[in-house]
């Protein structure tokens, strides 16, 4: 009643044309024949790729800064925020002479994301205070082996000479947020 979409059942007798059934059959045949020539909706995946949005949430990247030092400080906020409990990490302290490798005094010696658990919600990215983890528009390749789906730092960390562009995931709000003085240290 609320939607005005309810219909009263009518026990109307079918007319002769309806009862001989053939016009309906021919109508149906015409409809299906129209579909026969229509453009197919299937995307033949490995050959064709589906168009994905600019800020698609795909495989994660662990960012390095312009000097090539890892940004992650193993604070564990991403792991806490993760609804699928996909992230595990082991923290370690930075030694002298490793300043070019790790940006903060503490870093993640082991950082693993289980891609089978991950639901690509992007909450880890939102939680990270160091802008160290981002989701990218890359798809996680399939594998026949569960162990291979646990991505360690070797697969997640980007190379300093080949940085992954994440500017598409930086919404105007994020960019405005970054202008604020008190977060300058995070540059």
């Amino acid at each position: 009643m609320l939607t005005n979409r309810s219909k009263v059942v009518v026990n109307k007798q079918m007319t002769f044309m309806e009862r001989i059934y053939l016009p309906a059959v021919i109508g149906g045949l015409i409809t299906t024949m129209k579909h026969f020539f229509r453009k197919k909706t299937t995307i033949d995946y490995p050959k064709e790729k589906r168009e994905i949005s600019e800020n698609y949430r795909g495989q994660h990247v662990l960012k390095v800064d312009e000097k090539g030092a890892e940004r992650c400080t193993a604070c564990g906020l991403c792991a806490v925020s993760c609804p699928a409990e996909a992230i595990t990490m082991t923290a370690a302290e930075r030694k002298k002479g490793e300043e070019n490798k790790y940006r903060e005094e503490k870093y993640a010696a082991v950082y693993e994301i289980n891609m089978l658990r991950c639901i690509f919600c992007g909450l880890c990215e939102e939680a990270c205070p160091k802008e160290a983890i981002f989701l990218t528009d890359r798809l996680v390749p399939v594998s026949g082996n569960r162990d291979e789906m646990i991505y360690g730092k070797d697969k997640l960390t980007e190379k300093s000479f080949n940085q992954v562009d994440i500017s598409k995931r930086q919404t105007p709000e994020v960019l405005a947020f970054k202008q604020q003085k008190q977060y300058q240290h995070n540059k």
């Binding site: 059959v25 026969f36 453009k39």
Partner: protein, 342 residues
């Protein structure tokens, strides 16, 4: 001469058998493609170019599957079921006239394995035996779903055979013969029976759908109610035989529909362009196969358009509508013959 005759006939039999199987195999592929296209999908396209090797992959899969014969089944009958289904499906092909005879070195080679003068009766007889394949298979499985499926199948086939037979009687009254070869020959020059027997054709093709257990009459295999119907317990190539027999039946029914109503190997006006009888005869085969392929496509087209009937509707349609209609058709035909003195 007799030796040559036997060799020639054997070659024909083997050839038609192989063609029948080949077409049935590729009908499974075509069915999946047509289904996909009618539903805006692409269909199988991974095995070979355009998925053309799919039937072979399916066949290999069927052979590799484990063969399971239920403990409680009647083993002999269980194996006999698919054999009968396949045998009867392949047997009907012998009376179909594929084209006019080819004359080679002064000897005429008819492109029909045997033109027995009761061709239509033979087809009916063999098709009726086909019910046994389903019935025996369903009963021997000792499974309630199989039995129900088999019961439905046999009830359906028997009731629709009556209407089918009656619709043929009108045709036979008109043609005056029940030899398929003569019926095909009479329809030369665009003189197709469909123009004289539209109602009969409609009844015949609907009954052919029911006989082949194709949608909208595929109740024996109705998955939602009966798991798999009469072949629920079957696995491996025995299941393959049942499924395959359906496609062979489809091929044969298409051939018979084309022969009875659509002029068989005849094509109007072709005689004006080609005069060499051998050339005409080869073209006849091409035309007949063109018609057959159209009807196979039509079978599939219908399948993906019209939903399945309910069982009581099916019986209602068969007994209360088609049988009176076909009797009416006989009367009309009789009146027509009397009136036009044809």
């Amino acid at each position: 001469m007799v030796g040559g005759y036997i060799i020639y006939k054997s070659i024909m039999v083997v050839l038609i058998f192989l063609i029948g199987l080949g077409i049935a195999a590729y009908s499974t592929y075509a069915e999946r493609k047509v289904a996909a296209f009618l539903q805006d999908r692409l269909g199988p396209n991974k095995a070979g170019p355009y998925g053309l090797l799919q039937p072979i992959a399916d066949g290999v899969k069927m052979f590799m599957k484990e063969e399971i014969i239920p403990d409680v089944s009647n083993k002999f009958l269980f194996i006999l079921g698919p054999c009968i289904a396949m045998l009867t499906a392949c047997m009907t092909g012998v009376v179909i006239p594929w084209s006019t005879p080819i004359i080679f070195n002064g000897v005429s080679y008819p492109l029909q394995i045997t033109d027995i003068n009761i061709g239509i009766l033979y087809v009916f007889g063999v098709v009726s035996i086909g019910v046994y394949g389903i019935m025996i298979g369903g009963w021997a499985s000792n499974n309630k779903f199989s039995l129900l499926g088999a019961l439905r199948a046999s009830a359906q086939m028997i009731s629709y055979e009556i209407a089918m037979g009656l619709s043929i009687i009108a045709l036979v009254m008109m043609t005056g013969t029940i030899s398929l070869g003569e019926i095909a020959a009479q329809q030369s020059g665009g003189n197709w029976n469909i123009f004289y027997q539209p109602l009969g054709f409609l009844i015949f093709i609907t009954c052919a759908f029911a006989e082949c257990n194709r949608t909208p009459f595929d109740l024996p295999e109705c998955e939602t109610e009966l798991v798999g119907g009469y072949h629920t317990e079957y696995s491996s190539m025995k299941l393959g035989f049942y499924l395959f027999a359906e496609y062979v039946n489809m091929f044969i029914s298409s051939a018979i529909i084309s022969t009875l109503y659509f002029g068989g190997y005849n094509m109007p006006f072709i005689g004006r362009f080609v005069t060499d009888p051998n050339m005409l005869s080869i073209l006849g085969v091409v035309f007949l196969f063109g018609k057959i392929f159209f009807f196979i496509f039509f079978f599939m087209w219908i399948r993906w358009t019209i939903p399945r009937f309910r069982y009581d509707q099916l019986m209602h349609l068969g007994w209360k509508i088609f049988i009176p209609l076909s009797i009416l058709n006989i009367i009309l035909t009789g009146a027509g013959i009397l009136f036009f003195n044809k």
